[in-house]
Every structure is written in C-alpha cells, then in structure tokens.
C-alpha cells in the first residue's frame, strides 16, 4: 500500500554536468524519458534521479513494513475466525510489498542493511498515517477502505513510473491491494447493516478519526511539494498530489453514502460546475507535526519495529550459520 510523504526530504542541489561524455549520456537518458521509455537498473542515470528513487522507494518500503504494526494490534482481537484469517492475509501482503520494494531499491546500489539502518535510526521517513492509533475494530475496516483506498490512488500511476524495477513492483502491489480495500469496506458494511447501534457508532467514530489523515496521505499541496516538478519531469510522479486527492474525495464521498456514514467535513459538497466535490481546509500544521516525529504513535511504532528486528537477530544469525556449516560440509564431501 502506502505511499504519501514520498516526496519529503531535503532538497538536493543538482550537480553541474561534468564531461561531454556525461552530457551525451544525460541527453540519451532524457530522450528515453521523453519518449515514455523505461530505465533499467544497469542503464546510465543521473545521480539525482538515482537518489530521488532510493529515497522514494525506500520510504515506500518502510511504510509497508511499519504499516503492519497498527493492524498487528488486532490479530488476536479480530471478532471472528474469518476476519482474523483475512487480517493475517492482509498483513502478510504488506510484508510482501515491503520486500518487493526493498528489492527494487537495492537495484539502485544500496544494501538492505543500509535501508533498514536508515529506518531504525529514524533517518528515513515512512507514511505518517501509521503514526495514528487503531483504537477499535472498525479502525481496521477504515484502514482498508480509506487508507488503502488512498494508497491505491497514489500507487496506480506508479505502475507507469520511468524506473522499471519500481514500476514492476508496483504492478504486483496494485494487483494485491484491491483485496485490501474491498475487505475493509466489506467489514464496515457488515457492521453498518447488521450491527448494533454501538457498533455503527464505532464505524462513524473510526471514519471521523481517519478521514483527514487519509487526505494528508497525498502529500502537501502542489505549490509546496518539494520534489514535485522534477519528479514529474522524470516520469517518477505522473499525477499531482492535489489532483489525486480530489479524485480520492470524489470516489469516497459517494462510497460513504452507500455505507451510510457521514464524512467529518461540513464544507464537503458536490460542485456541479467543477464536476468535483468541494472540501474544507486541511490542517497542514498537524501533517507537519506528525511528519516531524510528534504524532500520537511515532515513538511507539519505531520502537516496536526496532524491537522486532533486534529480537529476530538470533534467527537470522542461526540461519546464516547453518547455511555456512552446510556449505562447508558439501565442500568437504
């Protein structure tokens, strides 16, 4: 799932092109991009393109991995065996998506250990949506419907990203993501159709809490997006943050009616002239506060992730020791 704050990070200065040979390589690279072509791992690419991709793909991978945590909270408390099996399958998918993406980032010349170090030391970002808590069972449904729904909007254009290993990973991810969104809506729908008044209130409460953070997943408004223009030029980002956000609002506003919940925005209103829903102002101060590390669960999430990694160290070491022992035995035989 889960892109969002992907174009957040320090702005890097572009180096002046050094040699005539490099200028020629850059010209051919630009030509490929302009023709809508793909760049493969071993093709020449500008340093800045490589850096931008490493940052974006690794942030995306981290988001998948951290995204397992808020859902993991509910595995033991899922209301039925069916919902538990679905939730486990979804969480396993998120882990798989993280792995596809780490592998795509590694084709750019960074190692898995470097990527994980950046996450665990707090240097790398992940989608801030996971710094919000999952307080009740309906939160799991809402994460599927709204959070995965927003992620799909963000991710579908990435299947045509100019960097081919990333685009291929995104094709696989998008194929699986649709199940995530549908199971979420289904879980909420059952609560709204068959649930008690308290269960319906639970759904509304979850929607109220997740609506605005979901809209923030598309990143800052186009005018303030640090890397937007360059990423668009390179075919890394094909549709702007604001356009994707509008598309998401238009789709979900209608879905909310089917579900029978209200969205917590008094200014949300169909605008026939624009052919879109108008919506109220987004609290960007909150967004930057959470990105900056001060959301409700930033510390808890990172601590849980680091602990999982540290607790698993002996398993990784044992598997490697076993493999070495077997290899030595084979050589001796």
């Amino acid at each position: 799932m889960y892109t969002q704050a992907m174009d957040l990070g320090p702005k890097e200065e572009r180096k002046a092109v050094r040699s005539a040979e490099e200028a020629e390589l850059e010209r051919r690279f630009d030509e490929t991009i302009d023709a809508g072509g793909f760049i493969e791992a071993k093709d020449w690419m500008p340093d800045h393109y490589r850096k931008t991709l490493v940052r974006q793909i690794s942030q995306h991978a981290h988001s998948e991995i951290v995204g397992m945590l808020p859902e993991g909270n509910w595995v033991t408390r899922a209301p039925t065996l069916k919902r538990k099996a679905i939730l486990l399958a979804k969480i396993q998918d998120e882990g798989g998506h993280g792995l596809y993406l780490y592998a795509a980032a590694e084709t750019l010349g960074v190692s898995r250990d470097q990527l994980l170090d950046a996450l665990h030391s707090g240097k790398a970002k992940y989608s801030s949506i996971f710094n919000y808590p999952t307080l009740n069972w309906a939160d799991i449904g809402v994460i599927g419907w709204l959070v995965d729904g927003a992620a799909i909007m963000n991710q579908v254009p990435l299947t045509r990203c100019s960097y081919a290993p990333y685009a291929r990973a995104m094709v696989r991810i998008c194929r699986e993501e649709s199940f995530h969104q549908r199971q979420g809506f289904d879980a909420l729908n059952v609560m709204m159709r068959e649930g008690s008044a308290a269960q319906k209130a639970m759904v509304q409460d979850a929607v109220n809490r997740w609506w605005w953070p979901s809209l923030m997943m598309f990143g800052p408004p186009d005018g303030e997006s640090v890397h937007g223009a360059q990423s668009a030029r390179w075919g890394i980002k094909r549709i702007s943050n604001d356009d994707l956000r509008q598309k998401f609002i238009d789709a979900t506003a209608d879905q909310a009616k089917v579900l029978g919940v209200s969205l917590p925005d008094p200014l949300l209103k169909w605008n026939a002239e624009r052919g879109h829903y108008d919506f109220g102002p987004i609290d960007w101060d909150e967004f930057w506060r959470v990105v900056g590390g001060n959301g409700p669960c930033n510390r808890e999430r990172l601590a849980a992730r680091v602990q999982a990694w540290d607790d698993g160290a002996w398993v990784r070491d044992a598997a490697l020791a076993h493999a070495r022992k077997q290899a030595t035995k084979e050589e001796a035989a």
Binding site: D93, L99, A103, G109, D113, R172, E176, A319, H322, Q326
Partner: protein
C-alpha cells in the same frame, strides 16, 4: 537484480537470490523478483511465501544473483541492433499471392 550486494561485501546480510516462477505447467519460468535468503532451501521456501501467495505459480527456480552473467547495457547496440536490418527473417516480409497468403 543487484550486483553490489554480494556475500563478500556484506557478510552479515543474507545473500540475494533471483526468483523465477512457472505460472502453470506448459509455460516458461519467468523472472518475477528477488529476495534475501541464507541458502537455496530457504530461498525456495521464501519465494513461495513472497511471490506465490495467490496461486501465481506451480514451480519456482531460485538462482544466486551473483551467479547471473548479464549482457552489458553499453553493448546493447552492438549486440541487438544488427538484427534490425534483417527484416527478411520475418514471415511478414514476404508478399504472396492472395490465394496462398495465409500459409
């Protein structure tokens, strides 16, 4: 595929494997991605978990990434362009009389 992460440069990291999946009997194995695993047996097991959770395959191959020899992208023109002017290698090059054109 990653060439920079080999067993010699990162001792503590599990080596990288390339994964090939045969979607069903009768079709070729196709490259579908890579993963880290300590040995071949674990690589097969993990390939099953990572790449075939929804019946995407009936067989997997795993190959150490460092064992794959690839052509140099810089040689692309030299290796693959010469075929471009040999259109007579394609059946569509030949215009046959209408009556037999579907042979």
């Amino acid at each position: 595929m990653n060439t920079s992460t080999t067993a010699t440069t990162t001792r503590s990291e599990w080596p990288l494997w390339e994964i090939f999946v045969r979607p069903k009997a009768g079709l070729d194995h196709k490259h579908c991605g890579s993963l880290h695993a300590p040995d071949a047996k674990m690589a097969v097991q993990m390939a099953r978990e990572v790449y075939t959770r929804r019946q995407e395959g009936s067989s997997v191959w795993v190959v150490r990434s460092s064992d794959i020899v690839a052509s140099d992208p810089g040689d692309k023109d030299m290796l693959f362009d010469p075929a471009e002017d040999k259109v007579y290698r394609h059946p569509t090059f030949y215009e046959l009389p209408e009556a037999v054109n579907h042979m």
